[in-house]
Symmetry: C2
Subunit: 244 residues, 2 copies
């Protein structure tokens, strides 16, 4: 894990930009933090990156409000990572098929399942490296990710026993129902009622498929990109309850 | 409005038992309250009554936590009200039809629509009487009701302009989709994912039918009677946000 910069802000958040092998990431911790604390991994959306303003705001809230550590890696082909030629070719082929009238949801789901084969081991390695830091340590881990972050998050949470609670959403069951059934930790699942990208029945089917006895569905009117502004408070309380 | 008893408890809640015409009710207010405050009307479930332990706990939380007034009337045929022969006859006929294999949901919905023809004007009269009290006054009004309280609540909220926010749930669209479409105030809607009495599609259809631009669906695993214990906190915050 190589640190490239470390800056602290007056609201008490230290931000460290790092790379782990070929994975660029950002770690947020309380200024002057000492000892073990809960860690939340954020999975960004498609076409976004580790320092997307939404992600940064969410991370700062978890650090300042709860003293957590928060880490966000760039997904392959996103942010500071080079264009991935295989992914790019598949994405272009999918766009052509959608333009020719194909259903987008199964194509998106299959693509996300392909990317997850890389991100699941990458994110496990990120947890290893970050938890080896003295001011993070091996405390409980949470995962937050919607849209692409849900498609990649479901197989990650299913596979990684350190994750004790997860916030997922804006994703459907096409590719991930089997992995979802293996998730047993508490899950908060967010659905946009008028999502133009994920069919409602697909989202409801993914919530249904989750194996967790403690799961809750939160649905609001609006399209894929219109999650309500109150959501960060609600997810912060959820993580505080299960990791704090 | 005739008051039959008034008791105050050490946690700061005054409980007044009253009758308004033939309607028995209970009003909870902060001890020593002076002046106008938000008022929440609670609609109890089928076979329950105005002093059901769940209702009492919910009312006390709104009084002690937020300084609200809370009122709960007995629905006809429930609590201290006499058996209603017409309702009783219909309920017995429905039970026989369900035992013979009929779908319960449409029968229950039709029955609730019949009862609502009485409860809508009764509850409006209760608001008039309670808001005439100096320590309640004409502040914003909220409504809370699930199950029977949802079946009766949808037409009430649709009809009563004083209601500015409503919590509904455990009910389906069979009889009330048309009234639901006329509701435009913020709504929090609760659904039990494994509800054995209300088919899931019916519940989702009722949420879908609500005309409110600001509405949220909260779904949890479990049967009709197993709403999560965290729900009262969430609804208290909702009322505080919209009435406080």
């Amino acid at each position: 894990m190589r640190t490239h910069s470390e800056t602290s802000s007056s609201d008490g958040v230290t931000e460290r930009l790092f790379t782990l092998g070929e994975i660029p990431g950002v770690l947020w911790t309380p200024v002057g933090a000492v000892g073990t604390r809960p860690l939340v991994l954020l999975g960004h959306g498609g076409g976004r990156h580790k320092k997307d303003p939404d992600l940064v705001a969410r991370a700062r809230r978890l650090v300042t409000g709860h003293g957590f550590a928060v880490v966000a890696p760039d997904v392959p082909g996103h942010g500071e990572r080079p264009v991935d030629e295989e992914y790019d070719r598949i994405a272009r082929a999918n766009q052509a098929r959608i333009a020719a009238g194909a259903e987008p949801a199964p194509l998106i789901a299959a693509f996300q399942a392909l990317v997850a084969r890389r991100t699941v081991p990458e994110w496990r390695a990120v947890l290893d490296a970050v938890q080896a830091l003295g001011h993070v340590g091996t405390g409980p881990v949470g995962y937050w990710g919607v849209s692409l972050g849900c498609g990649l998050g479901v197989p990650f949470v299913a596979r990684e026993p350190r994750v004790r609670a997860a916030v997922l959403g804006l994703g459907g069951a096409s590719a991930s129902a089997e992995a979802a059934a293996r998730i047993t930790v508490p899950v908060q699942f967010w659905l946009q009622w008028d999502d133009e990208r994920v069919p409602r029945e697909q989202s409801l089917a993914l919530f249904d498929a989750l194996g967790s006895p403690d799961k809750s569905l939160h649905a609001h009117p609006g399209g894929h990109g219109e999650m309500p502004v109150r959501e960060p408070d609600c997810t912060a309380r959820f993580f505080a309850r299960h990791l704090g």
